[in-house]
């Protein structure tokens, strides 16, 4: 179990993290989700031991590792830009963590070679061991970085924006693949992302962060359906904010024949399986987005229609 207790970190005058508490169960897949500047990467780096907290403690299985540097924490870290060693072959990159061990802990040359080949098979790069990172595609480099991190048999896997540098299609494939890999290996993993879709799809639990604090920790379902704060509601999924303070998801709004609030329709377009209707509340110009089931007749642009919320949330400001 990983336990983070009251972690505070400042960079000069800027407070990056304020009193973070977090517990992670063995085998969990955790997403640290937040906008840039929320402190999510700093928290990940502190858990790794690449950065050190000003206050607070980090415990791995009850052992206080707060002052232990990254090399002795036995964590696998996958960097956002992969940080592959350009002058080494893919196989040498993967074997690096084993090759730098002290002689008495180092497996034999043949064992190291076999391990590297095994790992390349696991990340589906069999036969590419002799290539150099420069000869691989982005998605392949990402998997080399992962294999390299796994080679040291870490007790915890940390990934910083693992899909950030990839294009949309590769990102989606790799996401599914990583989820399956996690299921197979059962390795406790934490990844940082600013993409709520990624967090909701992959993680067992999502930690939503803003301005160096945790706003909510919960399953994807909880975070989406029962956001704890206005920030979470707004950041995770789309939300309409009404002037009276209600937060309503676009799919929780419906067009009704009478009795709702009037909006002037500005735009209507197909958004995948639904119609997306954009309009402005009569009288105060608040922009409202709503999703209308595909089998309904969408309103015409310029028309005024009435809307009602099936479900809404309000937050104490």
């Amino acid at each position: 179990m990983i336990r983070v207790e009251n972690i505070t970190k400042r960079f000069g005058d800027y407070a990056a993290l304020h009193g973070i508490d977090l517990e992670i169960q063995p085998g969990e897949f955790i997403a640290l989700l937040g906008p840039s500047g929320s402190g999510k990467t700093t928290l990940l780096r502190i858990i790794a031991g690449l950065e050190f907290q000003d206050e607070g403690h980090v415990y791995f299985d009850g052992e206080d590792v707060s002052d232990i540097p990254v090399g002795k924490r036995n964590v696998g870290f996958v960097f956002q830009q992969y940080a592959l060693f350009k002058h080494m072959t893919v196989a040498d990159n993967v074997a690096f963590g084993l090759n730098v061990r002290k002689a008495r802990h180092r497996p034999s040359k043949a064992e190291i070679k076999a391990r590297a080949e095994d790992l390349l098979r696991i990340v589906q790069l069999e036969g590419l061991g002799a290539r150099y990172p420069g000869q691989l595609s982005g998605g392949q480099r990402q998997r080399v970085a992962l294999a390299r991190a796994l080679a040291i048999e870490p007790s915890l896997l940390l990934l910083d924006e693992p899909f950030g540098a990839l294009d949309a299609k590769v990102r989606k494939d790799l996401r599914r693949w990583l989820r399956d890999l996690h299921k197979q290996m059962g390795l406790t993993s934490i990844f940082v992302t600013h993409d709520q879709e990624e967090a909701l799809e992959l993680a067992d639990r999502v930690v939503v962060m803003d301005h160096g604090r945790i706003d909510q920790i919960g399953t994807p379902e909880e975070v989406y359906m029962k956001p704890a704060t206005a920030f979470v509601s707004h950041f995770v999924g789309e939300t309409n904010r009404f002037p009276d303070g209600r937060h309503v998801r676009p799919h929780d709004l419906d067009i009704v024949s009478e009795g709702g609030e009037a909006i002037a329709v500005d735009n209507v377009f197909r958004k995948g399986a639904v119609w997306r209707v954009e309009g402005r509340l009569a009288g105060n110009d608040t922009i409202v987005e709503l999703d209308l089931s595909s089998d309904r007749q969408p309103p015409a642009i310029g028309e005024t229609v009435f809307i009602a919320a099936r479900r809404s949330l309000t937050f104490a400001s």
């Binding site: 690449l50 940080a83 730098v100 420069g134 480099r141």
Partner: protein, 279 residues
Amino acid sequence: MTQRSVGTESRATQIVLILLALAFLAFFLLLPLIAVFSEALKQGIAPFLDAVSNPDALAAIRLTLFIAAISVPLNLVFGITASWAITKFSFPGKNLLLTLIDLPLSVSPVVSGLIFVLLFGAQGLLGPWLAAHGLKIIFAVPGIVLATVFITFPFVARELIPLMMEQGKDDEEAAVSLGANGWQTFWHVTLPNIRWGLLYGVLLCNARAMGEFGAVSVVSGHIRGETNTMPLHVEILYNEYDFVGAFAVASLLAALALVTLVLKTVLEWRFDLHSGARH
């Protein structure tokens, strides 16, 4: 029509500019270079060989090589250390260190030489103490080494700092997270990443170490066969109207410059190739 005339005009401008640049280069670089070699070989190959194999000339060549053999490795180590410290850590006084590294480039070499005379000379700050212990620095080889090290210390560091800045510290962090210690990280990760830039810096450092005149001239004392480096030897021969001798030794220095230029071009080509292979 108008388009065409603009096109021809810019073509003409191009040619004029290129010719101007070439003429400038020919006049200020090529012509002197040719002059050096033609003056050196004016009276045939025999006087040339005599001039460069004369004992004083040989002593100057030996001393120059000796000075370079000390100052280049020292600045290699210093350059890597300083660049590493500046690019991988943040510490108070970092900007001051950066400014100090540039100091030898912004100060006249003669002033640099004088600093050492003021420090270690007979009337200098440490002069009496050195004299009492029988140590001779100024007008001796140690002074020349000191002056050369001072003059050449920016070359490696200035080459590496922008390079290492651009590379960031992700690779080093990755190595450390995989369990590598500081030395392994440096040897297996940092050094291969900077090797071409480092070689380039060493080359420039070496060229300057062998060619430095001003600072060395101040601290050397010009003792023939003892404290004369090649550039100083050239000056002495020239002042004695031994033009063939002066140009013969000068042509060796010029040849060094040419070799440096070729190696530098080769390195740049490799360097580009290398960085081109990166994503």
